[in-house]
């Protein structure tokens, strides 16, 4: 799943570890989400959206089949 997490994080000048701390997940989880290796659960996706003040669909995008 394509996402804008890296762009949003770097815009805030946060490291992966800092973002992970704010979301209560590991730095590795943020790294995997940014690199498209892990699709976050609904709960985590909503937490990410709330943290950046954007709707979920503006951050995560399902690529066309």
């Amino acid at each position: 799943m394509h996402n804008r997490v890296r762009d949003l994080r770097t815009a805030q000048a946060w490291s992966q570890a800092e973002l992970g701390e704010r979301l209560a997940v590991s730095r590795q989880a943020i790294n995997a989400i940014e690199n498209g290796k892990h699709d976050p659960s609904l709960s985590l996706a909503f937490r990410i959206a709330r943290l950046f003040g954007e709707p979920v669909e503006a951050i995560f995008e399902q690529p066309p089949a």
Partner: protein, 160 residues
Amino acid sequence: MGVQMLYVRAEKGPRDVSVAKARFFSAISLVAYPCGALLNALGPDTLPTKLLGYGLILIALIAYAPLIGTSLQRIVGEEVKLLDEYELRLRGRALGACYAGFAMLTLLLVLYAAIASDKGFWLPTTYDHFNGVFWGIFLYASVLPTALLSWMVDPTFTGE
């Protein structure tokens, strides 16, 4: 109740060892131990052979040391409630692969034992032999999940 592996929780949090190093050290540990143990059991009863056998076993233990307390080992060894969703997914994959590996190893060993007892090949018989087998299984149970996990994650796992 979750599966609990051998894991030493560091006070300052898990150490980050690079994925390449984790792959290298775990491979050394997994290969050196059986080589050393088999050399001791099957090799000629001479001092150089014994030294080489025990040397390989020592190398296997030394190679295990850099993996202790790392973020990779944490994923397969930490309490389930202390892991996040990504870590839990990795843990499930690593332990699943580990189960398959151990099951296959067990089947192969039983098959070998059946053939060996028929054909008169070597089988562990003494306390020393079984001691080597016991600690080998213990080492594999400790190293294999971390080793398999190190091949499942990206090299970027330990860096941004």
